[in-house]
Symmetry: C2
Subunit: 199 residues, 2 copies
DNA sequence: GGACATCGTGGCAGTTACTGCCACGATCTT
DNA sequence: AAGATCGTGGCAGTAACTGCCACGATGTCC
């Protein structure tokens, strides 16, 4: 990696950190792009090249966590689908557990703010699509998009519920344990499924 | 309903219709709030009182479809949970089938545009929370939030997959049939579930 | 039916996120 | 060492959104 890329990586991290500082300290709405630029000692124009929107500053950590874990699944040789799904979920949670404070911060910020919460949802949406594509390849019928979509959706539901429970616990619970409990519910058919009314 | 409320309802619908006309005709990004205001013969300031953000103009149809259907569930007397879920899903799809062109338009617009797609996701998110609250009341253990969340998530997944398939079919398929097929997959355990790797 | 209270309307000025354009200077290549 | 490449950032501009305020239409009370 050349000097150029190193500097850019450093600048990127610096911007991200300063942004989180200001967000958690003064609030998301109250913090302006220019303030972040000043704090990171770059021009606003430069900041926009690293993070195209203000929401990106908050959401990017989650995005990379998800897609990094997915890439590992892609590289991995063939494995039974249910096990592979369990592995991906574990990877995602592990990466997030790397920086628990940031996870909590993301939730604090995105909770009251509509556009950030929405962007967070969009990250999950696009990740679900990517996961569904990965799932389809390992299905008996790779053209069965409905099954692939539902499978991916299920996996992301588990992640969402686990992270949510974890956040509600204030970050004290163990994500792996929560995940195990949650998937067990699904496997044991403890979750009600829509059923037509026919006697 | 007084004259005032009637006028407001009319203005609201007029703004919404003109907005969709311009969006589908000239594109979302290319259409400005002021253009919509001129087309609807109101001041921009007034338009903002009806629709606080530009995205709202696109998303509001989906939001009302979802929450109207949920309200009916709330009013309904006790029914077996699986049947109730099936009913809600049917209601939502019925309401959407009321105006198929608009559903297709919403997808066309939100597809390429990040912020609109995100807002759409946020609507689903908030609806899932509301549905989860409704589900919890009908659970043996109303404090079991994990089960409630997963159940609601499952229902919304079905809706998403069905609408998506329907859109992909160009609006020719029958939503009810698609829904029946999808829920059948879930009931029959045809969807792979994350499973730990233990011999 | 008329006077007063209520409330939607919309114009104006201002903030802020974001973009295209362009010149400068630092890094990389040969 | 000289030239090509590329990140940086200033400047001007657009458009989404907001607070404030006055006007006029609707609702209410006598």
């Amino acid at each position: 990696m050349g000097i150029r890329e190193q500097k850019m990586a450093r600048t990127r991290r610096l911007i991200s950190e300063k942004a989180f500082e200001l967000f958690t300290c003064n609030g998301y709405q109250q913090t302006t792009i220019e303030q972040i630029a000043v704090a990171a000692e770059v021009g606003p124009r430069t900041l926009y090249r690293y993070f195209p929107t203000k929401e990106t500053l908050v959401v990017e950590f989650v995005r990379t966590s998800l897609f990094d874990a997915l890439e590992e699944l892609h590289a991995q040789p063939v494995a039974p689908l249910p096990v592979a799904l369990n592995t991906v979920i574990g990877r995602v949670l592990d990466v997030m557990a790397t920086d628990p404070a940031r996870v909590l911060a993301v939730y604090d910020i995105s909770g009251p703010n509509g556009s950030v919460r929405a962007q967070l949802g969009d990250v999950l949406w696009s990740w679900r699509d990517a996961l569904a594509a990965e799932v389809a390849q390992r299905l008996d019928d790779p053209s069965d998009r409905v099954t692939a979509q539902l499978t991916a959706a299920l996996a992301i539901n588990v992640i969402e519920v686990v992270v949510r429970s974890w956040v509600n616990s204030g970050g004290t619970a163990d994500m792996r344990t929560l995940a195990a409990e949650t998937t067990a519910l699904l496997r044991d058919g403890k979750i009600p499924v829509p059923t037509p009314d026919q006697a």
